[in-house]
Homo-oligomer: 123 residues x 2
């Protein structure tokens, strides 16, 4: 599953982010059952409490729901997932543009650099 956790940010917050991405991209499909807390924790090489913390937050946000003893599931509210996806995309884009601006690249420069990189990479 390749969790690839960095040490310069709280783990639970990185877990939230990565699971969120998997839900938004459909890797964790709507209505699907997630692996158990213990399984996920082991897979990510993390303490169950830490994984639990991340999952609770996602549940609070409405992306997951829990059936007391049968497990956790991805929401079936596709609209909500779409909203989350677009919110995250917006955040990414504005953070990116802002940082490039701080670095001293104006918008047209940034755009051409990105285009160049995309041409360079295949597909």
């Amino acid at each position: 599953m390749s969790w690839d956790l960095k040490s310069d940010r709280p783990i639970y917050s990185q877990l939230i982010e990565q699971i969120e991405l998997k839900i938004c991209s459909g890797i964790f499909a709507p209505g699907t059952k997630l692996p158990s807390v213990r399984e996920l924790a082991q897979d990510a090489a993390v303490n169950p409490n830490t994984m639990q913390r991340a999952l609770s937050k996602l549940e609070e946000d409405g992306l997951l729901y829990t059936n007391r003893t049968s497990g956790r599931f991805v929401t079936e509210d596709v609209k909500m997932i779409q909203q989350a996806k677009h919110r995250l995309a917006q955040e990414q884009i504005s953070e990116f543009l802002e940082k490039m601006k701080s670095l001293g690249f104006d918008k047209s420069e940034t755009l051409s650099i990105v285009s160049e990189m995309l041409k360079g990479a295949k597909k």
Copy 2:
């Protein structure tokens, strides 16, 4: 100066990042004297030790140098600053593209979204 520190990441690491940006964009020009540790710390509303920690790292990286009692200065090695600038830009771009990919946007989609946003914003 608007430091705008978040609580979800170590402060010293955010300080490094922001000072690095100011050096790369020329706001802190090559050869320029920085404010003292204490001043910077007060400005950022942070403990002097924490600011010191960030500055030490930047010095280690070669972007700053210290004159024992007269203060800290931005390197005059413009080439090194340029390198740092491009390294940071590369990092930003690949992180951004990678995250958009995780979200389920392919490269051409990402490019058109960014173009759209840049058209929308004035200038």
